[in-house]
Each structure stands twice: as C-alpha cells, then as structure tokens.
Amino acid sequence: MKRSSWTDYQKEIADDNYYYARSCIRQNFFPGSEKVFLDIVGRDLGRNIFDDPKHTSCTGIGYHSDVVPLETIMTVVARQFALMSEAGYENFTSSCITSFGIYTELLATWEEFPEMEERTREYLYKATGREFTKPKNLAHTSDVIFHHREEIARKAKRKLINTYTGEPLKVVEHIGCHYAKIFPKKGVGGSEFPYVLAGMVESWGGEIVDYPERRHCCGFGFRNYLVQANRGYSITNSHKKLESMAPYKPDFIVCNCPGCSMFLDKWQYTIAEMEGTTYGQNGAGIPVLTYEEMAGLVLGYDPWELGMQMHQVDVEPLLDKMGVEYDPTAKYLGKNGRFLGRPQKALVNSCIEEAIYKTSNRR
C-alpha cells in the first residue's frame, strides 16, 4: 500500500470523441471552467467533443436528497445515454462528480439486476420513444484532463512553481466523495490514494500536501446544505478540513467536484465572518481552484476568462506567486466590457493582522 498503491487502480480513459454532459453545480458556479474544458480538449488538444443542448440534469442532487426515486433517475440517465448514441458517440464524459457517481452506480446496478435495466428500457421508450446503448467508456472530465496531462505539460506556458522562491507550489487536492468512494475501481487511484488530481499537480510542477483530513468529505451532505436549518453540518465538515490543512500552509486547494470547490471557497468566507479566522497566508483565504482553472492557468489562459473572479476567496495571491500577468481592472467587467462595480468587501480577503491563522490559537 502507501504512495504507489494508486497504480493498482487504473481505469481506461478514452483518448478522443467525447460526449459531454454538463453539471448543474459547475455551470452555476464555474461556467468559465466548463468553457475552458471544451476549449482545452477541442482546441489545445485537438480532440473531438460534443456539447449537446438536448441533455438535462441527471437529477442526482434530487436523488441524493431522496425526492427523486431510483426508477426515475435511472430513466433520466438512460435518456442521456440515448442522446449520446443518437449523436454518434460512445465515450461519455461527465462534468459532475455526483453525476459520475450516479452513472457508475446505475451501470453497476443494471449489471447486478438486469431486470431493472429491462424496466428502464421500457420506461424510456414509453416516455420518449428513445432507446439507449450503454457507453463504451465512462469518464469524469478530470479523468480526461488526467489522461492528457503530459501533453498539457508539454504545451505549458506556466508551471505550478512559486516564482518568488523557485519552489513547487504546495497544493491540497480534494477528490470529492462520489468520485471513488462508491466504486473505487472506477476512479484513478481508487478511494484511498486517488491520483487523478495529484497526477496533474505533479506533472505540472507542483507538490501535493498530505494532511490528516485529506479524504474527509467537504460537507455538502445534500439535504445538510440544501435546507438552511441543516447547514451547521456542512460548515462543520469544511471547518474540520480547513483546520487540518492550514498548518501545512498550502498555496491553493484544487477540487475534482464542483460542489466541493464551491463549499471550500464559500465556507471560508462564512468562517471568517463568524469567527474572524482565515486559513491562508498573511490573513487571506486559501484560493480554491477547479482542475480546469488549474489546467487553464498552466496553459496560459487569462484568469478572468477562466471565471476566477466568481470565487469568494481572492485568487490574486496565487496568481502573483505563479507569475501570472493579469489586468486587475478587467476582473469586474461584464460581457460588453462595462465595469459592473465591485462586490462588497469580505473579511476573508482583508489580509488584516487579526485574521492571520495561528496554530497556537487552535484547540
């Protein structure tokens, strides 16, 4: 076991010709990441990828909130597969970890209980007149980037290096529970030593931070965030992770799952407002990136074209360390180039002395 054990958990990842399924959470909070993923795969890597306007949510958030029944989500997923085959594709790539978990779980369920697959086929045909073929290859979109990581490294305009010190940037990677905890064999590296993000970070010059709560959930917990009365659960689990990683002084966090990216970003804001604590260096928050944003920075994309101004925790301290040139005034422009005003100030970005994280103050 230990560090090299990820090599026991390999999965086949298609090299080309992807049917792309968007994510409810990613398109809401990180639309720039979905755009840059398509640009990287289609333009920088020269692969074929189809962005189909006909698919919908997989309904996974509803399923894991226990309001969407199993038979219903199975049939919605079957419709996505039908659209994939109708478009002439057999490699399905999902932008969402919840969806990826759903697809792996339902394919396994159909394998185990063939009568459920039969019933799903009947439901789908009755509801839509469509028939489906199961994908030949199923990958999360991070798997696709992982698969092409060395090609991206060869095209890199920047490395994950602290340009002030010449040292590798210290990166916390967070995988997202449903990537490999449900079916470890379907995730690169399995659930104990997932390597999908670590592989990207290492190929692009960074260094992974190993910390005690590395595998702990971000705290989404579906109903435990979606219902206001339950949000103590969500912030408590993010807090546990942030307290655990802070002493290692990470330069940034990179997430696999769009929900985790959002929670680890937003709960830093809330903790700062509630307790006056920040977890980054010099009284700032720790920037939280999607892997698309990380790949985009490595490939030389402009941070505002990646949508990094939509984060609550400012990313400028990281951009400065990486030596990224950016126009500070372009951060708050709309699509027509008009200045939109600035968000209200937040303690998490204040860099005041009182907010500097001190381990000596921790319980």
Partner: protein
C-alpha cells in the same frame, strides 16, 4: 414481524447495502454526520437487520434516518461490504411512501427539498439555477455571489452565449421537447406520484401544526427551523 423489512427488501439498495453487519462501527468512525449529530449508522444497520417491525417503524418516524449526508464514505470502509448509506436511502424512500417522514423535524424538510430541487428539475431541467440560489436565503454564499446575481446576464454572458436561451452552452434553456420528455419520464416512473405523496402528507401535517396547509409559511418553517435537539 418483518413486514417493514420485507418492504425495504423490495429496494435493490437494501439488497446491495446490507448482508450481515458484525457491528464493528467502522462506518460510524468515518461518518461525517456522526461527527456532527447524535448519530450512529452502525445502530441503524443493526436495527434493520433485526427485522423488528416496531423498531423499524420508530426509525422511519425518527430524525435519525435524516442525518446522513449520503457521502458514502462508509461504503469503501466496511469490512463486510455493506453500505449503510444505501440502507439509509431505502429507509428514507419507505418513510416517505408511508407518510412517516412528517413525524420528525428533519423528515418534514423533504417538502422543502421537493419544492426547491424537485420542482426546479421539472421547471428548468436542472436541479439548480442561479436565480433560485437567492442571496437572502443563502447568506453563506457571500458578497461575490450577491454581485453575480445582481449582474447575472453580464457575468454569465462572458462564458456562455446561451444563458437563459436555447442552444449549446452553460445554463442554456432546455427546449420544450426536452422538458416534455422529462415530465413524461417523471410521470411514467413514479417520480411525479412520489412528489404528490410528499405534498399530500406535508399538507395534512401542516394543518395539524396549525398552518393553512403546506403553504409558503409551512415551507419556511421546515426550511429554517432547528430545534437544536440533534447533537
């Protein structure tokens, strides 16, 4: 004896999630919900595998089954290959089918989830859309989210030509045909009937609690009320 267990066994997730638990408690040790609530997934699996109707009914009416976050951290850890998270999913489904969910504070929240997520799926084709993450109900989303919502067309417009419109791209509007297919899927597979069941039992409970049925006031009550008796 065993009526509820038999009903649970009709759910493939129980067949997959429960074989023979030896009560080692690894699931509890790794569970994010157990670190927050007075919650022990080991005990839930233990109660279910005892097959006692009275104990299972008590569980179905309790707050306990609603604490789990369905992260499935328990699944790869169990030395017997059980998945307490799957057992929870089966219990929650049965609790709603039988109308028992309204007997607990956390169970009653299913109405809020049905309306916030379920109805949004039928309305838009997505579980969530920017304008239903209202800053006043989501103060934790912070100052940048408020700025985004105040300028949504200008900000999303930098990344998608299809914001709120048909065509390919992030946050595109799903076509009428697509939404029609989703509605039919929900009808044929029992998704709509399940939604109606949640509304039906919530309405009865709301009247018992002195509301004018499951109206907006009742929604806000179940969405925001925390008795703080869960820890």
């Amino acid at each position: 004896m065993g009526k509820y267990f038999d009903m649970l066994m009709e759910d493939v997730r129980l067949k997959e999630g429960l074989t023979a638990c030896m009560n080692c408690g690894v699931c509890t040790a790794v569970c994010p919900a157990a670190g927050v609530y007075n919650y022990d997934p080991r005990q839930i699996v233990s109660i279910v595998q005892m097959r006692d109707d009275d104990s299972i009914e008590e569980l179905l009416k309790s707050d306990t089954i609603w604490y789990c976050g369905e992260c499935m951290s328990c699944r790869p850890r169990c030395p017997r290959g059980n998945t307490p998270g799957y057992v929870i999913q089966a219990l929650r489904t049965l609790s709603q089918k039988l109308g028992f969910f309204v007997e607990s504070e956390k169970g009653r929240q299913q109405l809020a989830l049905k309306r916030a997520i379920g109805d949004n799926i039928l309305r838009t084709g997505y579980c969530l859309t920017p304008r239903n993450i209202r800053p006043e109900l989501h103060p934790e989303q912070g100052t940048v989210w408020k700025w985004i919502i105040d300028n949504d067309e200008q900000i999303y417009g930098r990344y998608t030509d299809a914001y709120g419109k048909e065509g390919a791209g992030a946050l595109r509007k799903c076509s009428d045909q697509t939404l029609d297919e989703i509605h039919k899927i929900f009808e044929i597979t029992g998704g709509k009937a399940f939604f109606d069941t949640i509304e039906h039992y919530s309405d009865i409970k709301a009247r018992e609690m002195g509301f004018d049925g499951a109206d907006e006031d009742y929604f806000m009550e179940v969405y925001t009320h925390n008795s703080n008796q869960h820890y």
